[in-house]
Symmetry: C3
Subunit: 464 residues, 3 copies
């Protein structure tokens, strides 16, 4: 912490361009060596299709996944970006840095996830297509969640470092959870949200700033910045059904995942409003809750969305998460030394853990009578013969996966937090946090007149 007391140098004129250019060059080289089109995005598809007797181009995975991909893409860039614009003077940083790290992250994710999941051993190349694009966006989501915890307190260079390590850790964690443990996590309650949130919270804990109150004047919203943030909230909320269904099984899997998420989110809105009103003086609603807690249901239903959670089950998950997430707000900084700018503990960490638990329970209680024999096998990807005990075992695997996600998040966050404490990254001083001024050319006039003066002026003009 003592490092924070030194005079800060926020000039990133050398470090930021250097990191961007070097890393982008590295990406080009690695893509050149490793990445090729997969069967369905290669010009040989037309021959393959005929050879494999696939009747129509519409069977190309592109048509099953692309609409969902675009929705997820909007969530990543507009959803996460605008959700963080709520601060009165950090909107450029919120949207701009979100844009930067997501663009870098998705390239690195294509490589990291590719090595684990899409490597063609016949020629040593990673073969990519639409599903890789969605998974890269998912991977990036984990890092953007982490960004929410440190919003306004770090430099762009730190964010890029955080993203490099975050994507790497994510890919390993995902490989362990999905491929080694064989857990299911369609919407990423564990893999994305739990990991991402604990990763960000641990980093924020490592970068704790005891004198952050010097930036208090900037750590709030203004009227219009709250409306901008609602753009982020709503695009996340609306497209969450696509997020949770984007990589589930074709057919009933995608259908059910979208439906469950739709219901869980609707339910969350009502309980969020209820609790927000109940705990405020005069029953007034708090925009912080409306912007964040309304999304908790989508997080919490992520793992179980593709299971037979049942419509009422989805509503119950949303009901509980709206309450828990909204109640979480006054808690964090008071009890733990974690400065969580966007409240990701309440929006991602807690609902993510709940989602993991709901997933484990739903899997453990799955029965042939509900799923059908083939449906059970299909939904959980069971191989060969399986007995009635298998769902129970799957429940255990899901619980194990949740632990892995938390461990990777906390461990990785502490490690990366140590690195980010080095005094070389150009982070802002305590009284300069939550301010675009050190890092952005700001427009410099007119708006500067306080509305109240404008009003007086106006009145004066009228009197004349």
């Amino acid at each position: 912490m003592e490092l924070c007391d030194r005079p800060k140098n926020t000039n990133v004129r050398i470090s930021l361009p250097a990191v961007c250019i070097v890393w982008q060059t590295a990406m080009i080289i690695l893509f050149g060596v490793f990445i090729r089109y997969n069967e369905e995005s290669d010009t040989h598809w037309i021959e393959q299709r005929k050879a494999k007797n696939i009747s129509s181009d519409v069977e190309n995975d592109f048509y099953y996944r692309y609409p969902s991909f675009q929705d997820v893409h909007v969530m990543i860039f507009v959803g996460f970006g605008f959700l963080m614009t709520f601060l009165k003077r950090y909107s450029f940083g919120a949207v701009g840095y979100n844009f930067l790290i997501a663009s870098f992250g998705l390239q690195w994710a294509l490589l990291m996830q590719g090595w684990f999941h899409s490597l063609d051993y016949s020629d040593g190349k990673i073969k990519i297509g639409i599903e890789n694009m969605i998974n890269a966006d998912f991977c990036v989501a984990g890092c953007l969640i982490a960004y929410g915890a440190v919003l306004g307190k770090v430099s762009a260079v730190q964010l890029l470092v955080m993203t490099l390590f975050g994507i790497t850790l994510f890919a390993v964690e995902e490989y362990i959870i999905l491929d080694l443990i064989h857990a299911r996590d369609a919407g990423g309650s564990m893999v994305i949200h739990t990991f991402g949130a604990y990763y960000g919270l641990s980093i924020s804990w490592m970068l704790y700033r005891p004198n952050l109150n010097q930036s208090d004047r900037l750590q709030g919203s203004v009227y219009h910045s709250d409306v901008f943030a609602m753009i982020g909230t709503l695009f996340l909320w609306m497209f969450w059904p696509s997020f949770n269904s984007a990589v589930t099984d074709h057919g009933d899997g995608q259908h059910r995942a979208a439906l469950n998420t739709y219901l869980a989110l609707a339910s969350t809105v009502l309980t969020t409003v209820a609790i927000s009103s109940l705990f405020q003086k005069h029953g007034k609603l708090d925009m912080v809750h409306i912007q964040n807690s309304t999304l908790a249901g989508g997080v919490a239903v992520g793992t179980a969305a593709e299971f037979m959670l049942m419509p009422y089950g989805s509503l119950i998950v949303g009901f509980c998460c709206g309450i828990i997430s909204t109640l979480g707000y006054p808690f964090m900084e008071k009890h733990l030394k974690i400065q969580d700018t966007c409240g990701i503990h309440n929006l991602h960490a807690m609902p993510g853990v709940i989602g993991g638990i709901v997933g484990a329970i739903t899997a453990a209680t799955a029965t042939e009578s509900v799923y059908g024999v083939e449906g059970l096998r299909n939904t959980f990807d069971f191989d060969g013969d399986f007995k009635d005990t298998v769902p129970t075992r799957q429940g255990g695997l899901q619980a194990a996966a949740l632990c892995v996600a938390i461990c990777f998040g906390v461990g990785g966050g502490i490690l990366v937090g140590c690195i980010l404490r080095l005094p070389i990254w150009g982070d802002p001083a305590d009284d300069n946090c939550f301010d675009d001024e050190p890092y952005w050319e700001l427009p410099d006039e007119e708006e500067a007149i306080p509305p109240i003066l404008q009003y007086n002026n106006h009145m004066r003009n009228k009197d004349m």
Copy 2:
């Protein structure tokens, strides 16, 4: 009206949480008792598909409907929500309450519409899938239209009550029009827009506030709030082709409905601009018209969009609606005691009625030579043998349906308006309308400090 003169208590700290929690709990119980996945969203789909010899997962209705559903979803939450942010100090209420009532409404709509349309008599359960999700969003649209009329003058609790009754009335009205009368109304000109608008206008008439001019200072826009409202306008405008085609027949039906709507909307923009400029001093354009009347063509083409309206027919509908809707603006409050905050009379009521009439005429004049024998049967869902006279009869049914929609809207609105006049709902006083202050925690207006002063201040703080 005398009730309005009492001192108002806008504290909803008990009533709002109570209503939200009780109703959400009721939803969970009713969903538990009644709602299940339908064939295509259930894990048994894989077996059913093989049994029914369906060749591909892409035949799951999800893939025909989901992209349209997401567009409609954006219209409901971002479109309607942001369209109403134009008021200078009611953006939180516009977006936030829109969010709340839509989230509640869609759950209740799934139940109400389910009982009428998706009840599986073999087990007494409602079986839901993607089409139910779209229809629930449609149902909600009716209530959001009604919200436009009373924007800024009611409390959240009143809105929830209004939505509960609105959805109920909608479902009955829809059942009568579509199932009993056998009218066609793909884009809901009658079922959604006409009903919703008259429902809202009647409520607003019942809640007439003679002293509303006390809130005049807040009943306008500011520059940036008008830009926010354009986000709503444009997302409604762009996705309207999806709205009108979302539940039409697969294949040419969806294709034609999207095309007709696209054309009608384009045409409306030009005549709206023309009339707006023509009737203003110096030919200046009025943002109120651009935000609202440009959408009238989409409303008016709703019923006929799936018919062979012909491309030029769509342009004509749009042409007329742009003119009529823009001319309607100075009319309402002057001649009728209805305070219509968002001008829904011009955006939804008149174009909705026009849409019903256009639908009736188009249906009545349908011929085998234009539609083809099978096409005619397919488009209008004619059963068994039918003769040349049938289209004429269909025209009559469409006209009857329009009357039903108006009656339900006006009747239901008067009834619900009476309920909402009870002095227990926490609505604002006349001089407190169009203001977020009574219901929302607002950010402190530090926006007021000019950055340059802030900076000096900042420097001064540093020196100290």
Copy 3:
């Protein structure tokens, strides 16, 4: 130029309504005479489908194209519209006029493109469906790009004239490039971006205003207007993969085009940030670059996106364009007498030309070993027998197409620029540019203080 010195009359109360009504009426008549539904949007589809033995409704082109169409539609109306809202007092004009000219342009484009590409010689009618809707939106994009160059300096009437001629020129140019030269240009690097940009720049050059600095106080952004512009940037950026893949071949063509665009855009963001930071004092980022140059990769990959550009090839294209586009900003007005409000030279002209060149090279170097025999034929639409030399020839054709696009842009722009210099169009005076005030009813309170008074005030405050 001497025309500009006369007192200006910005009253468009007669001209704007007249042009709108007359042109819309003409559209209705021409649509009535020429435009009908195509096979797939006509009610006869159900019979046709059976006759042609098409197995499923999902083979209707609607399902291959509609999600992409909606994304493109968002780019046209929200993307281009909001990208131009960055000026502090021209947001109404940016979004509103964009809305107006796009709505008119797409109707005219359906006719112009229809005569060239969709004319059914059996009955002399143009048959339209979803692909025509996408192409009409593409055509409009060219004119909206041109609008970027003259933003804030012309009247709505001038814009409509510019659009009428722009669409006409576009359709001819497109016919020459795609049908006569047989070049490929899926994403329109040449046909749309190069043409549109040079068209706009030439017009701006013809309308050069030597005293434009009189509007300097309005020619910048304010904090919130920059955030609004980011909405435009992000929706363009996110949906660009849909833009480049919307009309490519079904199957692998659309798949590959989306993937290549996704990668090129990601790469551009990093180099844009690098160069923006490197050339600013203290390494601060400039919003102008983030808003514009980040999109250059999407433009430049347009032509080659459907080819086997390879993932690393896409990254390289994006890498270079981010650098070149960002470096271009200080260049234009200093060296050429062109006032390019939105910097379309850097966002569209240069990247468009690069895109044309990349396309020519990629086509010229295509080999059977990479594409496969059938893939090569399929990708480049080669007919009959072809030899190894054919790709080289295709490269030459692509280069020729690029020249055609530039010539049409420059030539057409000079021609239309002459017309627009007539003193009858209601354009603003030099000290009235970049201001919504002459053309829009502005909200009339608080914010309503004339900017010039605000400015004086501001100066006064500074002196104190």
